[in-house]
């Protein structure tokens, strides 16, 4: 046995570290920089606004005035980085509806919804707030220019948040906000289109103005054939995508090209081929992507740093590699079909797919999906994700509180998938011989068509642990959610939510190294909403939680 304390002490004491006055000077300089940023805010906003803000935030929980006089609210000062959902203080967003959110390197900037216009949301630039996960603090942004922008779209350029939209006359316009200086500026107003009445625009065109990317020099609206050059301060036209009637399209920026995937069909039709195009902003040209094989209707896409991940309404998932110009199939999503449009986000090395029935996660290689219950609509924030949940009181006449969350993907820095904490349960181990069946009976009301007995069979085939389901109901059966290799112990999560009855529920990938001294564990999540109905199984033994044992015996 090594003497870890002593050896670590020796190792640490060998590290050269300064102390005393040089450190104080360095810290003092940093503090001065922090103060300058805040003082700039005071200078630009003025005492009147500070007083107004103070009045508004008086009711915020934990509201304080720091030594620079800037009003802040603080939640937990140290974010909990454990995987899973973490509810945070919603601060000044309490009672407000977030309309536009954008991640600005180290803070989430949120503009609240002001009103409903023609049934659509628009953001009010006077209702801007920022959340800093570093210190858990919410701040109110200085009030922006008085301008109506519909529909409001936002991008972060690295120095400014740019909000764009159309004025009531149909002209394009926008405002820019710099978090560093806490100053606003207006963008140029384009000439309004001739004969603009808004009727056709609001019915089938407005969505195109919300599909926006930042290319490094311009704000590009690839579906609206328009761009705004930050350097030139000008709006200008760009070539339209090849698809004449592109609808339900989504856009993503790869760092070199804008990828567009959508349905080429009249707006009024649900059917039509799914097409993909790529726009090179440097060459100002479009190219056509090969057929994806995706079905029509709603599609979500995101760039995960290596591929475009596309998921459509029927939960088929594909990945497009721009370098190879090819699509590949991904495993089907472990979520129940829900007549729901998918949203796809890339958060660090994790791809997240939001459906109405939950959240699916995949590592960058996307060999497996893994699922967790959804709590909120997420905003990709660099390598973090935040979201506001549904109003706590949906029946309230006034906007009700919405819980605010950070979602920490269960992928650590090494790219390994780790389970959510709620799945790590204490076991009341019940030894069952290898190969034994485990029967679970799903709740009728919670798993719908899964009101049949599900049997899981575990068998070894060489180094491969095969878990199969005998579920023969319609629509869903046990399917791989994913696997992880946490701290050397292989654990696999299986959820009876989707898939087919005939195939093995799980195959460890070939070549996967299993620990010599520890059998892999399989987690069966029989009730994805109850939280406690979880059993751990390995090919050598079966462990059942006390709660689940009762649950199983009941059936």
């Amino acid at each position: 046995m090594i003497d870890l304390e002593a050896q670590l002490r020796v190792l640490a004491e060998d590290l050269p570290v300064e102390r005393g006055e040089p450190v104080v000077r360095a810290v003092s300089n940093r503090r001065r920089r922090h103060r300058r940023r805040r003082l700039a805010a005071i200078g630009s906003v003025g005492l009147v606004v500070v007083a107004l803000v103070a009045g508004v935030v008086g009711a915020w929980p934990n509201g304080t005035v720091d030594d620079d006089g800037v009003q802040v609210t603080t939640g937990p000062t140290v974010p909990d980085r454990a995987p899973g959902w973490h509810e945070l203080d919603a601060g000044p967003m309490t009672g407000r509806t977030p309309a536009v959110t954008v991640w600005a390197d180290d803070q989430l900037i949120v503009f609240a919804q002001d009103d409903l216009v023609d049934g659509a949301e628009w953001a009010d630039v006077s209702q801007g707030f920022s959340y800093s996960p570093d210190d858990g603090a919410w701040r109110r942004l200085p009030e922006g220019p008085d301008v109506d922008l519909f529909p409001t779209a936002a991008v972060w350029t690295g120095t400014e948040v740019i909000l764009t939209g159309r004025t009531p006359s149909g002209a394009r316009s926008g405002v820019a906000y710099s978090p560093a200086t806490e100053r606003w500026r207006r963008l140029e107003v384009s000439a309004p289109p001739e004969g603009f009445t808004g009727a056709s625009y609001y019915s089938d065109r407005a969505w195109r103005d919300t599909k926006v990317v930042w290319t490094g020099s311009e704000v590009l609206f690839p579906l609206a054939a328009t761009s705004y050059g930050v350097d030139t301060g000008r709006w200008r036209s760009v070539a339209t995508p090849p698809g004449e009637q592109l609808v339900n399209a989504e856009v993503a920026w790869t760092g070199e090209e804008v990828i567009v995937v959508g349905r080429d069909a009249p707006y009024s039709q649900f059917a039509g081929p799914v097409v993909g195009y790529a726009f090179d902003p440097a060459a100002r040209t479009w190219r056509v992507l090969p057929p994806s094989g995706l079905s029509s209707q709603s599609i979500g896409i995101a760039w995960n740093g290596a591929e475009i991940v596309a998921v459509n309404y029927d939960m088929t998932a594909k990945a497009y590699d721009p370098e190879a110009d090819t699509w590949r199939d991904l495993p089907p999503l472990p979520l129940r079909f829900s007549e729901c449009s998918p949203r796809v986000l890339a958060v660090g090395a994790t791809t997240l797919v939001e459906m109405c029935t939950g959240l699916a996660l995949g590592e960058r290689d996307l060999g497996f999906w893994w699922s967790v219950p959804g709590e909120a609509t997420l905003v990709a924030a660099g390598d973090r994700a935040f979201g506001f949940g549904e109003p706590r009181d949906e029946a309230a006449a006034e906007p009700s509180d919405r819980p605010f969350y950070e979602f920490v993907p269960p992928v650590d820095e090494g790219g390994e998938i780790t389970p959510p904490r709620e799945l790590v349960v204490g076991l009341d181990v019940l030894e069952v011989p290898e190969g034994a069946d485990i029967a679970g009976h799903a709740n009728d009301d919670q798993l719908g068509g899964l009101a049949n007995q599900i049997r899981f069979q575990l068998d070894w085939e060489g180094e491969r642990c095969i878990v199969s389901s005998t579920y023969a109901g319609t629509g869903a059966a046990a399917l791989v959610d994913g696997y992880r290799d946490l701290d050397g112990a292989r654990q696999i999560t299986v959820s009876p939510r989707a898939g087919g009855p005939d195939r093995p529920a799980l195959l460890l990938p070939e070549g996967a190294r299993l620990p010599d001294d520890e059998q892999p564990h399989v987690v069966f999540e029989l009730d994805d909403r109850g939280g406690s109905d979880v059993t751990e199984v390995s090919c050598a033994s079966v462990g059942v939680t006390r709660d689940l044992a009762r649950f199983l015996h009941r059936s």
Partner: protein, 159 residues
């Protein structure tokens, strides 16, 4: 009461080196650790933090800072230049341990440093890392097993 300049000075004299070393062992870089700890101290200065909690507060914020920095720039890992060492020396043994600690998953590494180097108990380690105590116990158990396996010399087979 807000943290004063005097408290920052005392911290810089007494606790700073140990906290930097702990963060350096966790993130693998003294420079990055100094940056993170100084940033945390600047944030603490003027903020209301109980004097007894200042070290833990700074440590936690600094660890969060290094994690964020790591995520922002994953190249940090690949730019590390391995040192040339002579086997059998104290320096070589230190580097063996350093490599073994660096080879631990991040959570295990942080738990080991907090528990074995800073002397945090399991509860404080869990609080600092924002995880359950059971998670810390598991992490420490697995880290110990790994380090023992990697660092314990294999016995010569009997002739």
């Amino acid at each position: 009461m807000p943290v004063t300049e005097d408290e920052i000075r005392r911290f810089a004299d007494r606790r700073y080196p140990q906290i930097v070393r702990a963060v350096a062992l966790s993130c693998g870089s003294v420079a990055q650790a100094e940056d993170a700890v100084q940033e945390a101290m600047a944030k603490a200065w003027g903020r209301t933090v109980a004097p007894d909690d200042l070290a833990a507060w700074v440590l936690t914020v600094a660890l969060n800072h290094t994690r964020s920095a790591w995520r922002r720039d994953r190249r940090l890992r690949s730019t590390a230049v391995p040192e040339q060492v002579t086997a059998g020396t104290d320096h070589a043994r230190d580097l063996d341990l350093r490599a073994a600690v660096d080879g631990l998953p991040r959570r295990q590494r942080e738990a080991v440093v907090l528990h074995y180097y800073l002397g945090f108990d399991v509860r404080d380690t869990a609080a600092c890392l924002g995880v359950a105590e059971g998670t810390v116990k598991t992490a420490l158990h697995r880290a110990r097993a790994h380090l023992n396996r990697v660092l314990t010399p294999e016995e010569e087979p009997a002739p």
